[in-house]
Symmetry: C2
Subunit: 291 residues, 2 copies
C-alpha cells in the first residue's frame, strides 16, 4: 500500500509517494503555474502508482476545509494570481479515485512534527507549528487532532505590541498592516532596510525587533493553548534567531507560567529537508483511509 | 445520585449540590478566609448529602492540574494571602471519599457554557470563555475536552498592541505590566481615572480603549483556535460593552477570516446568575465518575 502527499506552495508543488512507514519512495516537484497545468502534472505523477491507497494535500491558502461548506476543497480568496476560487480536491479525487484529505500547509507540517515526536517516543499531546517566511502561518495539534472548528487557524494575523525601535514601520499586511505577518514575515526585512532578508547580517538590530514579535506570538500560543512544543519553520528561522526568541519569551513570560526547558520547548522542525508536511500528509492520508 | 460543585473564588466559595440533570438542589456560600476554616465549612456542607457521588472544583489560581506533578491538586503561587501552596483536592477527597475533578474557575465556566450549548442543541465543537473582572482569565473547550496539556491556560497574560490614547498607562500586572490583564481588568479603570469601574459612565472614552484590547484578545483566540463561540463573563462585561468589542473585532479582522454572525459569536454567558461554573462542575463531576 502506498500513500501520497501534495505539498502545494505558491512557488512549487512537492509531490511524494511513501510507504506505510512514511518513508518517501519517490518525489517530484512542479512549478505552481495555473491550476489546469499544475494539476495535470500532479495527476500524471500519481497515476504511475497503482498501489496508491490515499492521498493528503497540504495547501497554501486560504482554503475551505469545512466539509459542510459548498466550497469544501477549494483554494478561496488567495492573492496568488489565477488560483482564487479553485477547486483543488475534486479534480484530484476524480482523476485518482482514492480518499483525499485536505488541509493547510502549516497543518500538514504541524501534523508531521507531531507524528515525528510520537515516533521519537516523546510523550507530547499537543504542538504548534509556526512558519515564518513570505507569510506567517501556524497550525496546532491537540491529542492527534488538527485544531480549528470554524476553519483553519490563521496564526500570522494576530496583533502584537510594537517594538519601541519599530514604531515608524507601517507593516506589510494588506489586510491588517501591523499584524504579526505584517511586521515579522520575510519581506519586512527588505521593506525596512532595502536589503533582502537572507543578506541581512546576523548581528543587525532588526533581528531583535523581529524576535520580539515572534516571542509575543509564542507567548500568545502558550497562554491560549499551553501546548507541549512550539515548532518554528520557514526561511526567517534559524537556530541563532530562535535563541533570540527564547530570550525574549523568557523576558515576556517573566517566570509567570511554567514551560519546559526553552531549548526543547521552542525549537526547529525535526523533519529533515523541510519534510514535515510530507510526513504529515502520509499520516493524514493513512488516517483518511481508516475512516 | 447527586453531584457536587465548588466554585472557589478569592472572595467566596460557592458550593452546590445538583442532580443528574445538572439542576441545583442546594447551594451555600462561604467567605474565603484561611484554607482550614473554609475547607471545614465546605466539607460540612457536602457531608449532609449521603448520595453525593462525585464532585468538581473550579478554583482561582494559579493551580496545578497536571496529574503527574507532585503538587497536583494544589493552589500554587497565588497573591491571595494564606493560600499559596495549599493542597485543595486531597483534604476534600479524604473527607468525602468520592472522585474529585480539579480545574480552574474559567475552565469550569467554559465547560458549563459548552454543556449548555449542547443542551440548547447548538452544534458547537469548541468555545472560549474569557472572564474580565478583578483579573482576566480564559479557558477553552474543544470537542468536550479542556485545552491545555502543559497546565491550564492563562489567556489574560498575552501582550496587545497599545491604544494610541493609552500610551501613558503603565498597566497593573505585577508580572507583565501591560499585558491584557494589566490593561483591561476591572482595577485598571480606577487606576486610570480614580473612579471605580462600576461608577464610570457608559459613554466614557475609556470603554473604547478597553474594548480595543479585549477585541485583540478575541482576534488572538480566533486566529489561534478558530472556535465556534467566544463567551465573555465577569464584572467588566455588559451587552453594551460587547457591542464595542464586536465593532473593534470587525475592524481588526477586516473581513480576513470568516466568523459566525458577531452577535452570536461574541456573546455573554448563557447560564443565569453566574451559574456557568456550577453547571460545568456538575458535568465534570459526572464525567469523573465515569472514568
Amino acid at each position: 500500500m502506498l500513500l501520497g502527499s501534495i505539498e502545494a506552495g505558491g512557488t512549487k508543488f512537492v509531490c511524494a509517494v511513501g510507504n506505510e512507514d512514511y518513508r518517501v519512495l519517490e518525489k517530484a516537484t512542479f512549478p505552481t503555474t495555473d491550476p489546469k497545468t499544475t494539476f495535470a502534472q500532479v495527476i500524471d505523477f500519481f497515476k504511475k502508482f497503482n498501489d496508491l491507497a490515499a492521498l493528503s494535500i497540504a495547501s497554501f491558502g486560504p482554503i475551505e476545509i469545512q466539509k459542510n461548506n459548498t466550497r469544501y476543497g477549494y483554494i478561496t480568496e488567495t492573492p496568488k494570481k489565477g488560483w482564487s476560487n479553485t477547486d483543488f480536491v475534486d479534480p484530484i479525487k476524480k482523476a485518482l479515485n482514492i480518499p483525499v484529505f485536505f488541509t493547510t500547509d502549516v497543518n500538514g507540517s504541524a501534523y508531521g512534527e507531531y507524528v515525528l515526536a510520537q515516533l521519537f517516543n516523546e510523550k507530547i499531546q499537543s504542538l504548534v507549528y509556526l512558519t515564518i517566511g513570505t507569510g506567517i502561518g501556524g497550525g496546532a495539534i491537540i491529542d492527534g487532532k488538527i485544531v480549528g472548528s470554524q476553519g483553519h487557524t490563521e496564526m500570522g494575523h494576530v496583533r502584537v505590541k510594537r517594538h519601541p525601535d519599530d514604531l515608524d514601520f507601517e507593516g506589510l499586511c494588506p489586510f491588517h498592516h501591523d499584524c504579526l505577518e505584517g511586521l515579522a514575515s520575510g519581506p519586512t526585512f527588505e521593506a525596512r532596510l532595502g536589503i533582502k532578508g537572507q543578506d541581512v547580517p546576523k548581528d543587525h538590530p532588526i533581528w531583535d525587533i523581529v524576535s520580539y514579535y515572534v516571542a509575543q506570538a509564542a507567548i500568545q500560543q502558550t497562554m491560549i493553548l499551553r501546548p507541549d512544543n512550539l515548532v518554528f519553520g520557514g526561511g526567517v528561522v534559524s537556530e541563532p534567531f530562535l535563541e533570540k526568541v527564547r530570550r525574549d519569551f523568557a523576558q515576556l513570560n517573566n517566570q509567570y507560567v511554567q514551560v519546559p526547558d526553552l531549548t526543547t520547548y521552542i525549537r526547529m522542525p525535526r523533519a529533515k529537508d523541510n519534510g514535515s508536511a510530507t510526513l504529515g500528509n502520509f499520516a493524514l492520508a493513512f488516517h483518511e483511509l481508516g475512516k
